[in-house]
């Protein structure tokens, strides 16, 4: 390959930069606007700089219950994360051997991924209604979010196991390891970092999920539902402050996962 970059490289680089700006620009804009002065409005110009709206956010709101919904979203996110990791891992392991009906389960997972989310919401809502159960964010909400996170987890596990060298397992078996020991000491450490990826997907997708939770969360809202409710009733930069707050929270979560990922992949150097 020649080292001189062609003109197209620079054109594409500019295109890429514009795209990234397009991706992040609006988010950065509201981050700046959330520091709007107490008398500022929803758009520029900035009317002084203050943390007024963040203070407002931390006080009791006239509408809704932000902190309660934040706690629920967080709890639900953790529940979904744990379930997604465990079930995708088991699913991934099971799919390595072709079992009866594996194709059906696979297509079920794909279908679950591409079915319009409002259908899940409506369907679970109706189902619980017919069965005469109460919809609650921790039961029906939890289940409908799993239909979104599980397929992602499973697909990631497929990708991981397709690249997995089974010679390691054979070596372990030859050395007399039981199948449980092989799993515990060979397979899990190697795929560990990917499991962290699955966990990240599980948590963030659940934390931000809206459409599937809409009809299935019952009386208590999760955070995205709360924000959605606010968009129709709140017309101050408090909205931006909340947006900035949850975005920063998402970034922190991503950062934590990235850190764990780095630490765990350093510990085990995969020979790929």
């Amino acid at each position: 390959m020649d080292s001189k970059r062609p003109l197209s490289f620079y054109l594409l680089a500019v295109f890429f930069a514009v795209f990234v700006l397009f991706l992040y620009g609006p988010t950065i804009t509201i981050a700046i606007l959330s520091f709007q002065g107490p008398h500022g409005g929803l758009t520029f110009p900035m009317n002084g700089v203050s943390t007024h709206w963040f203070k407002e956010l931390f006080q009791q709101q006239a509408v809704g219950d932000i902190w309660g919904s934040f706690r629920r979203s967080f709890g639900l996110g953790v529940m979904v994360m744990v379930t997604t990791v465990v079930v995708s891992l088991m699913g991934g392991l099971a799919f390595r051997k072709h079992f009866r009906g594996s194709a059906i389960v696979f297509y079920l997972a794909i279908a679950s991924l591409i079915i319009p989310s409002i259908l899940i919401s409506l369907g679970v809502g109706i189902l619980f209604n017919i069965l005469d159960w109460d919809v609650h964010w921790a039961s029906s909400g939890f289940g409908s979010q799993l239909t979104w996170t599980l397929p992602f987890g499973l697909l990631i596990m497929f990708a991981v196991f397709n690249r997995f060298d089974s010679a390691y397992e054979e070596a372990a078996r030859d050395l007399g390891a039981t199948s449980w020991q092989t799993l515990r000491y060979i397979v899990l450490p190697i795929i560990g970092p990917s499991l962290i990826g699955v966990a990240l997907f599980g948590f963030t997708l659940s934390y931000d999920e809206f459409a599937r939770t809409l009809l299935t969360s019952g009386t208590y809202n999760t955070l995205p539902l709360e924000i959605y409710g606010m968009t129709t009733s709140v017309t101050t930069p408090v909205l931006f402050a909340l947006g900035t707050f949850t975005t920063v929270f998402s970034f922190i979560v991503i950062g934590i996962f990235a850190l764990i990922y780095k630490l765990s992949s350093k510990r085990v150097k995969p020979s790929a």
Binding site: L119, G125, G243
Partner: protein, 269 residues
Amino acid sequence: MTLILSFFLLLPVIAIFAVSFWQSTAYSYSPAFIFENYEFLLSSPVTLSVYIKTLMFTGITWACCLLIGFTVAYFLAFHVRSLPIQIGLFLLCTVPFWTSNIIRMISWIPFLGRNGIANNTLLELGLIDKPLEWLLFSDFAVILAFVHLFTLFMIVPIFNSMMRLDRSLIEAAVDAGASGWQVLCNVIIPLTKPGIMIGSIFVITLVMGDFITVRFMSGGQSASVGRVISNEIALLQYPAASASAVILLLTVLIMIGILLRFVDIRKEL
């Protein structure tokens, strides 16, 4: 796994299907076997115009996502030479996926609003003499938000396909005298087709089923199939909503069925 998916996926779909034949009373609905919901739905002129609108959103969004997504993935895969930078830039593109969609929609308000950045900039440049009204709360805003939210789903599978493409094929093409454009059209595009298909499936299904983006970005002025369903739900017209949902599901499945003829998803992972 199967259990969870069956319970929260299969059963609800069956329930929707069943309820779509039920009859509705003022505040409730009861078991029956009537085609009234479908009759009303299929004979209403609103349905047709809503579907045309939704398909228009889907088509434009798909085209934009494909163009942008392909270009970005192409740049990342073939023009960035060191792997760490490649991965770094790739992650830069995917991080927004893990943040809230609603927040990202709200973020467009200060940008597109009547006194927003876009209008003010254009005014200062003297390109327009009064603020553009169609920037926010319009079809334009809806499509912009769609592209903003869903291009990611196009980039990731295309990038994945491109990274697995055997580089020696490109060298061979260059050695055989192909120009850069010919390599792109005759080697890269055919070989990244599976990625393009998977990305298309995601974008199309997400746009077809969407209702929040349309509601929010159009300021309630545009309709889409998803919105019709959510409105019917809000009015507690569950059988009608179910009938709409069944039709929507069929439409999406037909579109995916066509796309799937071109690609075997399981081989692509």
